[in-house]
């Protein structure tokens, strides 16, 4: 965003307007990568089904990492799967966000002590934006996690990427 980094003398009216528009667009059409790992994936499916309807917030599942903006890591991340998740994260185009859903992907969940094959938290492999607690979190909790992510995007500024 070299063009916009130049400080206009009279300041920020132009930038905040454009910033709001860009942030509003990014937050109101978050396309999630359609893949689930474990029990949380069933709750994620229930959230995008008719009763809780993810589509109200503009979230539609996309199948290829190329066209997805956010991954919802829903389920236990095992060591064998962690390598794949890292590659998926790298394949996604840049303004991308990660929602870690469920205590398994937050910190290893019920498998933290004796799970020899479980990665203790997905943030050891990819940077996470929003953690949704619960095992599995209720659909309302996932929706609240999405709203938290939207809030975070709303405050992002074009000049310095806030992550």
């Amino acid at each position: 965003m070299g063009l916009l980094d130049k400080e206009f003398s009279d300041g920020n009216i132009v930038i905040t307007k454009v910033e709001d528009l860009f942030n509003w667009a990014r937050l109101s059409s978050i396309w999630q990568l359609g893949f689930g790992l474990a029990c949380c994936a069933i709750e994620m499916m229930a959230t995008s089904a008719s009763h809780y309807d993810f589509d109200r917030f503009g979230v539609i599942p996309r199948n290829t990492p190329r066209q997805a903006d956010a991954i919802i890591i829903s389920g236990t991340v095992t060591l064998k799967m962690a390598i794949r998740i890292k590659r998926l994260y790298e394949q996604m185009p840049d303004p991308k966000y990660i929602i870690s859903m469920g205590s398994c992907s937050n910190c290893g969940g019920p498998y933290w002590e004796h799970g020899y094959h479980v990665l203790k938290g997905v943030d050891r492999v990819i940077p996470v934006d929003v953690y949704v607690p619960g095992c599995p979190p209720r659909p309302e909790a996932l929706l609240e996690g999405l709203l938290k992510l939207q809030e975070k995007i709303r405050n992002e500024s074009l000049r310095t990427h806030s992550v």
Binding site: L79, W112, H117, L119, R124
Partner: protein, 176 residues
Amino acid sequence: MKNPEEIFEILKKEFGESILAIDKDVPTEPIIAVDPMYINKVGQFLREHEELKFDSLMVLSGVDDANGTKIKDEDETEVISGGTLSVYYHLHSVYLKHKITLKVSTPRDNPKAESVESIWKTADWHEREAYDMFGIIFLNHPDLRRILMPYDWEAGYPLRKDYKNPEFYQGMKVPY
């Protein structure tokens, strides 16, 4: 419909010394111990015999009996040496509706047993899982490699009682 004692008699008569013993005192199910190198012949016989017709292997589970001696090696972790790793076969006949449990005990340092994959196709993955979790090698199994753990996992066999977690796996910290 035969109960385990009759089946044990038939097997004893057929195979003689390779059928070791039957123990009935332990609750809920009598178990017939079999010699590990003859298990595929016994299995073939159990499947073909018209009075028995055990045509489906319900489950094949590896067990670490942990009955060896516990010795402390240099960094004060205890390693079990000697003792046995055993494999339990639960067989069931769909048409004659009777069940039997076989047990095979193999020495812990080089656990070898015959594969029954040629008799019951379902044993293919069960044996691979027993190998993956305990290191029991099944002779002439089509492709015996790890099934649940990553293929390049060198830190031993996880379900053994004396298993220790590796520190790192491909750059990721394993323990909490």
